[in-house]
């Protein structure tokens, strides 16, 4: 018990120290690395408040994928890009007081929680058998609030299209990111060759167990996307052009299957996004498999960035 308290306190202090360091360190690269370290600590915190699904998502997407994207930008963004003038000390003190006030107010809210705390845990548990899955988070994401999750896949797709909309016109139809390096260090190629099959297996495993255990499509898809990016970095494959039919099929299959199953629900189960009672679990897994492909493709292309090369003849 005391050990757990000690661990929690140390973790909390470490998170705050890393966060302050991240904001104050001069070098942008150091700040981004700090951010990724912070993500690992945060994932531990999620485990400590008994949210392992969130912890996995935080490691995969919140710190991992977000950090990689920030690193990509840092490589290209110059240090002198500034949106506003460097603030004066007085302004900093003023803002600091404001932010301190916000923190104190929020801390007061945390210390004086509504009692008793209302919860939907019982309702989620009572209906769990109707969804066919064992993990209550998956039941929320794929059954009770499946509409949110469907819209989320649309959000991811639109974010990618938004990134593509920033392509300079002359590069439309080209491949994302810079051309692969002519010579890739041999160890990187070697690493990719043995890590990728393993990573793909882990990604699919995490997706598969998500129905009943912590895990799921978003976490699995991130690992798949990471493996894809590793292959690109190792020069073993190149990013597909944005006009590629196969790429578009991969990006669209998730939202399309989700929508089709949802609409089929009108006839087969009486409601949009309702599943036939005896087939709920297989139907959910079909949707999740399609989403796994689309989310992995979208994340991989988000990590690769907008096209920056002429299209090949």
């Amino acid at each position: 018990m005391i050990l757990a308290l000690l661990f929690d306190t140390l973790l909390a202090v470490a998170m705050i120290v890393v966060a302050v360091w991240m904001i104050s360190v001069k070098n942008a690269f150091a700040a981004i690395i700090d951010f990724m370290v912070f993500g690992l600590l945060l994932a531990l915190a999620w485990l400590r408040i008994e949210a392992p699904d969130v912890g996995l998502t935080e490691i995969a997407i919140g710190s991992g994928a977000t950090g990689v994207i920030l690193l990509r930008a840092r490589g290209l963004a110059r240090d002198r890009d500034e949106m506003s003038a460097t603030p004066s000390i007085g302004f900093k003190i003023l803002v600091g007081a404001l932010c301190g006030g916000v923190t104190l107010g929020l801390a007061a809210l945390v210390l004086m929680p509504p009692d008793p705390a209302p919860t939907l845990a019982y309702a989620a548990a009572e209906n769990l058998h109707l969804t066919g899955v064992g993990n209550p988070i998956t039941a929320v994401l794929m059954a009770y609030r499946a509409f949110d999750t469907f819209l989320e896949t649309v959000v991811v797709l639109l974010a990618l299209l938004g990134v593509w909309s920033l392509t300079p016109d002359r590069f439309w139809g080209g491949r994302p990111g810079p051309a692969p390096a002519a010579s890739v260090p041999a160890p990187l190629t070697f690493l990719a060759q043995w890590l990728v099959p393993l990573g793909v297996l882990i990604g699919i495993y995490i997706f598969w167990i998500g129905a009943d255990e912590p895990g799921g499509k978003f976490q699995g898809a991130t690992i798949l996307a990471a493996m894809w990016v590793l292959l690109m970095m190792a020069g073993l494959t190149d990013a597909p052009p944005v006009t590629s039919r196969r790429l578009r099929a991969a990006l669209l299959v998730g939202p399309a299957v989700f929508m089709a199953v949802g609409i089929a629900g009108f006839w087969l189960a009486g409601d949009f996004l309702a599943y036939p009672p005896d087939f709920a679990k297989p139907v959910i897994i079909v949707i999740e498999a399609a989403m796994l492909i689309s989310v992995a493709a979208a994340l991989g292309m988000l990590l690769a960035g907008p096209p920056m090369r002429e299209s090949e003849p």
């Binding site: 209302p118 919860t119 499946a146 959000v155 299209l161 909309s165 578009r248 399309a256 949802g262 409601d271």
Partner: protein, 512 residues
Amino acid sequence: MSVPVALPFPADTTAGGFLLVLAILVPIAGILLIWSLGSRQTERIALATLAVGAALAFAIGAELLGTARPVIYLVGGWKPPLGLALRADGLSVALIVLTAIIIAATGLFAKGQFGFDPAGPEKRGPMMFWTLLLGISAALNLIFLGDDLFNLFVAIELVTFTAVPLVCLDGRTETMRAALRYLLFALLGSVMYLLGTALIYSLYGTLDIVLLKQVVQPTPLLFIAVALMTVGLLAKTALFPLHIWLPAAHAGAPAAASAVLSALVVKGSFFIILRLWFDVLPDGVSQFGTQILGGLGALAILFGSVIALRQARLKLLIAYSTVAQIGYLFLVFPLATGTGASEPWASIAWTGGVLQLASHAFAKAAMFMAAGLVYDALGHDRISGLAGAARIIPLTFLAFGLGGMSLMGLPPSGGFSAKWLMLNSAVGEGQWWWALIILIGGLLAAGYVFRVLVPAAARPRIQIKAKGPVSRCRELVALTLAVIALAIGFIPLEPSAMLQIGRGVEAGVLAP
């Protein structure tokens, strides 16, 4: 100590409920089709989708008026608080129909633009424009129909992800800078909104608006939550002093995009503020907050109008006018928060506010389209170079002028009805200071509209020449929208019965 939430949602899916689902799905299906079929079909798919969307909006309206009850759909058959509901009341229907008409008109206006060429290779511009337009349509419909505060969060993020790329569709450095500023404001707004959502869930264990209305108590935590969410949404609505991202973003976007951004997108986040203050908060307990919102609205009217008077470019003038006109919307908060005795005046203010929203949407879309046509005709949009321009493109300036009438509040126009109702309610409730602001705002609007119209209509000393042809069809689209803004003025000047369907005390009383 935790307790289970025991709140039955008071209604089931209604007969026409599936229409609500379709209103959101159809534009998304359009996007999937565009990207699976490629460039040749882009325009045809998008325009067909918009036509279906408009038909759905009218069908939902017919359903609501036919039954005189809100239209409801429980997604997946799960009742809130566990599941998600979609719900259309009178206010949602007004906004869905308005959005469908303006987006469809924008589609017609943008037809053939952005270098669209069905025979050539795929191009970025048209693919993106039509995708983003459909995306905005889906996201706004979700905002107007969503009954769950987190579902609405996903909706406002969808709006952000579609509106920001529209701003910098032309890929120029200035527009990308404006888009980045817009994005950062929008993201800070989202995260504040989300924090408020967490607080509300911690209080009541549900995020469903209808259920919340039944259980909310005027506790400090609830006010803090709503305040956080409101400030976040104000950043997206661009209410003074959080407006600083708007002028560059709205003026920099292509004309068709500006029309949608100014007429509709800022109204999406405003709509959620309305929901929070009138459909979630307990009645009549937030006098202080409503006076603050009204005060900021008043400042927006004065500040936006005065800056608009000083602009050198037509599109920036129109964008600053949006800052001012958004201000009027916020006068609804002090005026429509009825306390017992002033109830009739409050419902007059409510109708006035919705009329202001609608007439501004039509007028502003028309004016931005007109500004785009001016640019096509003259190759610039400097106000100093407009002398005699109305002789070259009379229909365009007619559209601009009719839209301007609505902004000034001249009879007979939608803007007149809106401002007249608000003025009456301000006087009736003894809050005369808002009446003064409404009058001053109208005079200032007259100033900036005539600054454009008078030289444009004058006989120029040197005959100016058109740089390019202006499509008659596109002029007619702008003119039609301006005429609708005018026609709203012929709606009877009384509280609207439709807008009251599913609101207030009867919001929860739906079961037969």
